[in-house]
Every structure is written in structure tokens, then in C-alpha cells.
């Protein structure tokens, strides 16, 4: 099981509703996976600014003074917006990597959910409704976003085991399915210097794409490569700073429905997730083909 939703907005007038629409879509998919839920929202990228979403099991302790401590370490101004167990740190874009290293040093218990110029990631154990409320997702605007509700199979039900997985700047991936060669791939990528936070198969898929992109492939090419190298069942939805992609394995037993209008491209594990979108009655609705890469870019 697992439920995936995604929304890529084409009409800027709809951007303020991204969080609300995506929240409702994700809640509709609750019975596909009750273990954990997560959402990645792309938006609000101001020139020169970078964002790091961090999570802590003890937010009161860890987030206290984190902005000033990090600012002092980087020698620049850092601001933070705290939302429950997560905080989004605003740092200069060119200092993103430096800031991630500094956070690991300053607050060893804090985990980085994702970072980049546009991405914010919120994920926790629990039902979609509780998770989206906790982080006030419905109020968020943005250009595109991806949500996931998990029925755990390959690794433990934890915050870090929740989707989306982000293994590169402004990149994220959600997955319905299970991979059978993830241990082998993880070993190979570890040898190449990639770091892994979990034993989860999906993290390997995300890292695989990040590694291909780091070696010069674009997202479309990386997704094509995944069809050759990843073994198992998968429907992936991926996000980048400007784009939104979908790919299904050749067997394609994990469900997927897409809808497109002049205003948006939407993805749902089931049609139910799309049923309340504006203009769905006249949208082009189709099922993505197996072994076929779909990609939209702003």
C-alpha cells in the first residue's frame, strides 16, 4: 500500500492553495497507510536565500537559540521558523552546505529533513490529518508539492523512515512499493561516499537519483537509469526545485492516476485523491504507463 499525492501548479493564481489542496488529497489517502505521513512543499524561493528543514525529538531544547548559534558560527544572519518538531532555517544560499555541517556540530540530535532554495519537508509518525495539522500545511503556498502516507514494509515506523526522502539539494522522492536490491545498491553508493540515515529502501532510491544527478544526468535521465538499476516494485514521484516527475516500474502493480488541466498536473495513488480538485470533471485523467518517465518543469 502507501498513498502518494502530488500537485504541480501551472497557474500562479492557484499557488496560495497548494498546501490546502495537497493536505486534503493526502488525508483522502489515509487508509492506504496509517504509519507516518510527510509532505514536501516547494515555494517562496527568495533570491540568494537557502532553507534547511530540521527536525528534533526535543524541539524545545534543540531549537532554542539555534538561529543565533548558527548565525554566529556562519558569521551571518540566520532566522528560524519553528513548527512543532520541525524548524525551517533561513540561511544564505551559498552557505547551505556549511550550515548543514554546523548544525550537526551544534545540535547533534537534530536531523536535517531537507535543504535547498525552495524545498521544505515536514514528516512525522501518525495519520495524515494529524501531521498536516501539526505543521499547518493547509496555509502554505507554493509552486509544487508531494505528499506521502506510509504503510511500512522495509524499515521501522520512525520519523526518519517517513517519506519524502531528500538526498540532494531541493530533491525529494516518495515511493509506493518495495525494492529488492536496495542493500546491494546502498553498499555500492556508500563506497562512493554517500551517507545514509536509515535502512530504508526508498532512501536508497532517492540517493540513487541524487548520485546520478551529481554525476551530470538530468532528472529525466536519472529516472530512465533507475528503470535499469532498481529491482522491485515502485511508483515514484520526485520533486526538484522547478520540476515534478513520475515513473513506474515495468510491472506497474502499484497504482497511479494523473490529471492535467490548464491550472495543474496532479498525481494520486487513486482517483479519490483527485476527486475534489478544481476542474477535475473536465481534466484529462489517465494512468501513467509502466517504464515511462513523466516530467514537468516550470
Amino acid at each position: 500500500m502507501c498513498g502518494i499525492v502530488g500537485l504541480f501548479i501551472k497557474d500562479k493564481a492557484l499557488e496560495p492553495q497548494l498546501g490546502a489542496l495537497l493536505s486534503e488529497m493526502l488525508i483522502t489517502m489515509t487508509d492506504r497507510g496509517p504509519d507516518s505521513a510527510g509532505i514536501a512543499i516547494y515555494g517562496g524561493d527568495a533570491k540568494g536565500h537557502g532553507k534547511i528543514t530540521v527536525q528534533s525529538p526535543n524541539p524545545d531544547v534543540d531549537f532554542k537559540g539555534l538561529d543565533t548559534d548558527l548565525g554566529a558560527k556562519l558569521g551571518t544572519k540566520v532566522s528560524a521558523i519553528v513548527k512543532s518538531t520541525h524548524a525551517v532555517l533561513d540561511v544564505p544560499a551559498e552557505k547551505l552546505e556549511e550550515a548543514r555541517a554546523a548544525i550537526a556540530e551544534l545540535r547533534p540530535d537534530v536531523r536535517v529533513m531537507g535543504s535547498g532554495e525552495a524545498i521544505e519537508i515536514y514528516k512525522e509518525v501518525g495519520l495524515p490529518e494529524d501531521v498536516v495539522k501539526r505543521f499547518d500545511i493547509a496555509k502554505m503556498s507554493g509552486s509544487h508539492g508531494i505528499g506521502h502516507t506510509r504503510m511500512a514494509t522495509e524499515s521501522a515506523v520512525t520519523t526518519l523512515g517517513a517519506h519524502p526522502f531528500s538526498t540532494g539539494p531541493d530533491q525529494c522522492l516518495v515511493h509506493n512499493g518495495s525494492l529488492s536490491n536496495h542493500n546491494n545498491l546502498r553498499r555500492e553508493m556508500k563506497r562512493d561516499g554517500m551517507k545514509f540515515e536509515t535502512e530504508n529502501d526508498t532512501e536508497v532510491a532517492a540517493a540513487y537519483l541524487s548520485s546520478k544527478i551529481a554525476h551530470g544526468e538530468n532528472l529525466g535521465q536519472a529516472l530512465e537509469s533507475s528503470l535499469n538499476d532498481l529491482d522491485g516494485f515502485f511508483t515514484f514521484v520526485v520533486g526538484t526545485k522547478d520540476g515534478f516527475g513520475v515513473v513506474r516500474d515495468p510491472i506497474a502493480c502499484k497504482p497511479a492516476v494523473m490529471a492535467e488541466t490548464d491550472q495543474y498536473v496532479a498525481f494520486g495513488s487513486e482517483y479519490r485523491a483527485l476527486a475534489n480538485l478544481p476542474g477535475i470533471e473536465t481534466a484529462r485523467v489517465w494512468e501513467p504507463e509502466p517504464s515511462t518517465v513523466y516530467f514537468w518543469e516550470h
Partner: protein, 245 residues
Amino acid sequence: MHASNLATAPVTKVNYAPKVFDLSKITLREFNQALHDITDGATETNWEVLNPKGSHAVAVGAEHAISIDVQGSVGYYCGGMNQNSTITIHGSAGPGVGENMMSGAIFVKGDASQYAGATGRGGMLVIDGNASSRCGISMKGIDIVVGGNVGHMSAFMAQSGNLVVLGDAGDAFGDSIYEARLFLRGEAKSLGADCIEKEMRPEHIEILKDLLARAGITDVKPEEFKRYGSARTLYNFNIDNADAY
């Protein structure tokens, strides 16, 4: 019947106004329960379902000869195990539409997702649009007519019945097929193990003519189709065939 019996026979009033179930106002379970509560000789034979919004298991387990019009798209297993009733989905259907159908008919005006008509034992499933992968998997007597294309592994392990495809078929069409008849008007991307093209004899033209007529398709001739079926080389295990499994 004698005149005296006629006079005492109960008068059956047929109610032609549709009995409407709005799924935005009642639960799916209430609708399906009402469907299961129908007794023999029911007089309300036109049922209508509004606002399905992709719900699962709409009109599963119908047993009586009524018509059910579903106004919108449905999720998994619509019309599963259907007997006698005629279900029309005025939208698209999710996975497993008409799964294990026994008799009656299901018409899908849009597309159908994977494994449409899976394990169906009888009746007719007509999909105006495309059906995705595994259409008619393990079919056991159902007749399936698809106006568009079917996805990969359609009619996988099909045992009996007919699958008619007006468009093209994906990879591994009819893989490991037993005795079902496959009629394909377009091209198959590839044929599955033990599936071969067979001669279209006059009796097959007659069968296909009847299937198309019952599906309401009038603009296509049976002669435009090719017939596929089992080469029957995988029926019994033979060590020389091990690679084909």
C-alpha cells in the same frame, strides 16, 4: 394460466423512476446493503448512484436483474461478483472492475485500471476506453470487450471466455493462456508464453459478431480481428520447456 388464477395473481407494479443513492449524503455501506436487501420480485429496477468520487467496492455483490447507473468515476472492485444486474459506470473505473463477475453486464464509459474482469466467470464487461495491465487475468468464462487498448499481460492465464480488443495490446498478450479466445483488432506489442495467432474460422466470426452486437459496437467488422489462443505446449510440465515458464 387459467382465468381464475389470473384474477387472483398479485398485481406487480413496475416503478420506472430511478431509486437514487447520493454517496455524498449516505455511506457506501448503506447503498451496498440496500442492494443486498433486494428480494425476488423487487419492483424498483432502476438504481442510480451519485457522487461516487472514486469510492471502492461500489455495487459489489449485486444479485438481481436491476440496472445501476453510477454517475462518476469509481475506485477498486466496482461491480465485483456481480450476478444478473447491469451496471453502467459513467466515468472511469479503478483496479479490478467486475472482478469475479458471475453474470449480468458492466459497462464502463471511460477507462478501466488494471486487472479489469479478473477471474470473471460469466457475464459481459464492456469498456469503451482503454483498460490497463492484466485485463482479464485468469478469466474463467467472462466476455470482455475493450474499445481501446489493453496493457501488458492481459489475459494472463486466461482459462475460458472471450477477450475482444478493438485497439492494441501491450507486452505478453495472453501469457500462459489456457482455453480463452482472444480477438485483437490492432497489434500486440508481444505475445506471452504459449500464446499464438490462430485461424479465424467461420464459427469464430459468428462468435465475435455476437459479442460485438451485445457490446453495442456496430462500426467494426469481425473480419478486422485476428484470433489468438493457446499453443497448448505448457499444459503439462515438460522439462524441455523449463525456460518458457
